[in-house]
């Protein structure tokens, strides 16, 4: 039961704007809360993706890098040995590397490079993978064209299942 007669200004209209503002505030808060939750979820997904990549991809990359680095170090060690022994008869290791780099055709990948300073004359052993026989021929021809190279000898050639050719090429250097 009402407490009595009320003749004041209409309560509904007086409180209308207030109610509207409260309603607007609640809706805006819910809307922003929804956006916040979605962003938190996206961030969590990105974080887990990064963690997964750190856990799987980076070690593999590091492992690959480590092996390549070790190989490079081995080559450099041999080159240093060659340089220090004086057996290379004045050929600098950088010159040898430059020789190999210039001689490699585009479709031939260098697998390993060995220097044998003790042989007479000193020689290089190049292991590489080529797509075609023509590339192997081109590699031999380019090597032989250098005035630092006395002779080239194809020690081995093996055809893989995917059609590529693995070769071992001995390069005799001039004295």
């Amino acid at each position: 039961m009402k407490s009595g007669i009320y003749l004041g200004p209409p309560i509904g209209s007086a409180r209308g704007p207030g109610r509207f503002l409260v309603l607007f505030g609640v809706i805006a808060t819910l809307f922003h809360f929804g956006i916040y939750v979605r962003q938190v979820r996206e961030l969590a997904a990105v974080r887990s993706d990064v963690e997964w990549r750190e856990a799987t991809v980076v070690p593999a990359v590091n492992a690959a890098s480590d092996s390549e680095l070790a190989q490079e170090r081995a080559v450099l060690a041999r080159l240093s040995a060659l340089s220090e022994s004086g057996a290379s008869t004045g050929i600098l290791t950088t010159e040898l590397l430059q020789l190999v780099a210039n001689a490699l055709p585009d479709d031939v990948a260098l697998v390993s490079l060995s220097i044998e300073p003790s042989t007479s004359p000193p020689s290089l052993l190049v292991e590489a993978v080529a797509r075609r026989e023509e590339d192997v021929t081109a590699l031999e021809r380019r090597m032989a064209a250098s005035n630092r190279v006395a002779a080239t000898r194809l020690l081995g050639e093996r055809s893989a299942a995917d059609g590529t050719l693995s070769i071992r090429l001995q390069v005799e250097l001039t004295r």
């Binding site: 039961m1 009402k2 407490s3 009595g4 007669i5 009320y6 003749l7 004041g8 200004p9 209409p10 309560i11």
Partner: protein, 290 residues
Amino acid sequence: MHGSGLWRWRKPSAGLAFSGQSLVAFKKGGKNGSGPRFERKELAEGLLEVSATTPNVHSVRDLAQIAETALDAVGARGERLVVALPDLAITTAVFPGRGRAPERELRQELASMLPYALGEARYDFWRGRHDEVLAAAVREMVAIQYEQIVEAVECRLAWVDAVSLSPIPSWSRRPSKKGELDVCLQLYAGHYCLTVFREGELVDARTKLRKAGDVELVCREVLRVPALHVSADSDEQDSIDSLSLFGCDTAAVAAALEDSARVRAIRIVTDDEDRHLEFSIETLLARGSP
């Protein structure tokens, strides 16, 4: 608390009441032991001319200054105020046995009694526990003037009711016996309000003009009540069981009626118009928020 949004949950503790001749500010006693404070301000002739149809206040600014002084005196500046409007600004009707009627029907009945269009009115219905309905309306342009006074003194409105209507709901809650006829008479300098309860049910509330000091007219009206509200086929006695008097001239009315066989018991509740305005404000303060 003032200035915060929490004021809506706090009951108002002060109010203003208007009569044609005076303005009364009242503040309840505080919890710190301070007693209730009351301030009456006499109004200059013509400043407030109470009417149900035309603007009442000649100068809102002047009346607001008087209200401000009264509110400062009781320490109620800036508070939420209940306002008791003058009776003669209100149109009142009682619909006995219509407590379950839809408001649409009650509106139509009230509209037929108003001297202006219902669209220009603020109105409300109070439904009693005996299926009676008390209806009251005030013209919007009249009510707004009193609200402007409250705004001008930097206060906010709580309950707004008429001086003589405010105690009716609390009177209707009093216990009553079968066949009992109770009358409450509120007397003011220029008018009086007669409220009749039969077996606790509000059956009549009428406001009538009188000349200041005219007691005879009032007594005649009181003595008519049993004939009006005791049914002819009833075996009940043709008399008022209890007559409660409020306001001014109550002693004179009581003296005039004490030997009447139609009035069994007379009780003077307040004997001063200002005290009755204060009583009206206190009644509104007890209600809480509208």
